[in-house]
Amino acid sequence: MSKVDLNRRNFLAKTSVALGGLVIAPGLMLFDFAHAKQPGEAASSSVRWGMLIDTNQCHDGCNECVSACSKENGWPEAKSPTDVQWIRKVELRQISTGRQTSLPMMCQHCAQPPCVDVCPTAASFKRADGIVLVDKHRCIGCRYCMMACPYKARSFVHEPVLDHDSDMPRGQGTVESCTMCVHRVDRGQQPACVEACAKAGHRVILFGDLNDPNSDISTRIRSVASTQLRADLGLDPGISFVGL
């Protein structure tokens, strides 16, 4: 009797684990499939990566997002107007009311990016998932994209680059800007600024798929009033702001 019970127990335990695994594994795998790309896999237009920045939560003087971006992508701390800045903190004071706000500012990853339109060599390009990038091997350094960007999002590398990260090639005489940490996003991670902001306990930046109606970012955008910068230009940026 006891032998039979033992067998039954073993059977039930093993079956439960197996069933549990069967139930959970696809979920885990699906999560991975949804958020990470296989090496060599092309970006999909079914996804549009974007951010929602809640300026009400952004702390004046906090620079965590900027430091994280600098560290992640290997650009040095900016000291002069010739230094690159992929992301910067902007302090705002509403002229009519005096209300003060602070926010992180970077490439807005427009759906209709003027930088891509004007680039003579097609070095500036938009991925199918909405991330706007510069092909460092094609950029001839004409800076027309910098003239065309309404957000001052791009920087020109004015000096020789002595050291750079393998994930993020950089070079003197080319233009660069926020890549939305494309290398991390492709691995299923969040951009460095988003992670750093959350780690600092502020949760200013919400990152996600704007095309997925059930994503956190889409749900939030539906429930709070948000604005795109210079929406009048019709560029449809992938980044929206709350509290402006």
Binding site: P81, R88, V90, M105, P120, T121, A123, Y144, K152, E159
Partner: protein, 396 residues
């Protein structure tokens, strides 16, 4: 005979002296470009706010003037005016020279000039820069063809149709140059449909001024006097072009002043923007337009020297106007957050500083020197001197 030989010797000596000077300045320009590429653009006055600086002022002047100088040829070939037809070859040579100088500066200012071939292998059809690569190279080829039809007797019958093509091409080309700025929705100084026609009219004035200077030097060089009737006609045309340019510049600023969102920018450029209002009013309006008009149209003036000075002043005014448009236009901060006062570590909300550095200016001068060299050698080697008939009608 002996006297002639002496003249030839002196002339030859002057020629080599001029070529040496032109060669030296060109070499300094190339050395400056090498220095910039070696150390990065940090050695220029440009930064992440003012991304186009002095080299672009020089380059755009030369490219615009290269198109405008062809006006002289067009009046001859397209509109069959003999006085201008005699000047078409010199206009063609000057166009090639200026375009070569301008493109050299533009190319050498790139962050990666070594990758210029990428502009041909990866072509973005939506980029006006990419269109201009075709337009500029096309103009060089067309003008070379045009010169052939003008200077080779058997080809003469083709000069009119080819001249017509050159005429159409250069109008499109200068439209393309104006569109570089007109397409820029980001900055308040640009994004105006008036810019392409304004550039066309500017090209007429600046090109003719460049032509008159070269013509004047060539006539003096060859101990010839320009027929007063031709002088009269060409200086009047320059006056007309200067007035037309003033009209377009006024229309551009007046429309901007009328838009509330643009008034702050206009106040900056025209009133309290430091060097920019000074250059606009003092450099472009007064020295570059009003004074040349006085020299051209005052009954007691308008002779050879006055026209030469008027032409030089017109070009000085062109540099002032381009400096205000290109650099002043970038110095004014982008309007990213209308209704907010903005500060950041990246110069948001601030007027950007720009001080041109020596390498930039040398690079620009190098481009001018290349144009000078091509012209000097061209007029020496081939017959570009305008030959006028003894009888020239007083009026067309």
């Amino acid at each position: 005979m002996a006297q002639n030989k002496t003249f030839a010797q002196i002339e030859s000596r002057y020629f080599y002296a001029l070529v040496t000077i032109g060669g030296l300045v060109s070499a300094m320009g190339l050395a400056a470009a090498y220095y910039i590429e070696e150390h990065g653009h940090v050695v220029t006055g440009m930064n992440n706010q003012i991304v186009w600086g002095m080299p672009h002022v020089f380059a755009i002047f030369m490219i615009v003037a290269a198109s405008g100088v062809l006006n002289v040829a067009s009046v001859g070939s397209v509109f069959s005016k003999d006085v201008y037809k005699a000047r078409a070859p010199l206009a063609g040579l000057l166009s090639i020279a200026l375009l070569a100088g301008g493109l050299t500066v533009l190319m050498l200012d790139l962050g990666r000039p070594d990758r210029i071939i990428v502009a041909a292998t990866n072509y973005n059809p939506t980029s006006v820069f990419a269109w201009n690569v075709l337009l500029y190279n096309g103009l060089l080829a067309l003008v070379a063809l045009y010169l052939w039809t003008l200077m080779e007797k058997r080809m003469n019958p083709w000069s009119k149709p080819v001249g017509l093509m050159v005429f159409a091409w250069r109008i499109i080309l200068t439209t393309g140059t104006g569109l570089i700025f007109a397409f820029l929705v980001a900055r308040q100084a640009y994004a105006s449909a008036v810019l392409p026609p304004m550039f066309i009219v500017m090209s007429f004035a600046w090109g003719l001024a460049a032509f008159l200077i070269v013509q004047s030097v060539m006539f003096t060089w060859n101990d010839l006097a320009l027929n007063p009737a031709i002088q009269q006609r060409m200086k009047n045309l320059l006056g007309l072009f200067i007035i037309s340019t003033l009209y377009f510049v006024a229309a551009y600023h007046l429309t901007n002043l009328y838009f509330a969102r643009q008034t702050e920018f206009e106040h900056f450029i025209l009133l309290h923007g430091g060097i920019y209002p000074w250059l606009f009013w003092g450099g472009y309006v007064l020295l570059g337009s009003a004074l040349p008009l006085l020299l051209i149209f005052h009954p007691a003036l308008g002779k050879t020297r006055s026209v030469l000075v008027a032409s030089v002043l017109t070009i000085a005014g062109a540099f002032a106007l381009l400096y205000v448009l290109i650099i002043g236009g970038q110095a004014f901060p982008l309007s990213i957050f209308p209704g907010y006062a903005v500060t950041s570590s990246f110069g948001d909300g601030q007027i950007a500083n720009y001080l041109p550095s020596a390498p930039e200016i040398l690079l620009g001068c190098g481009g001018l020197a290349i144009a000078f060299l091509i012209t000097t050698i061209g007029v020496r080697v081939l017959n570009f001197l305008p030959h006028d008939d003894s009888k020239v009608p007083q009026h067309d």
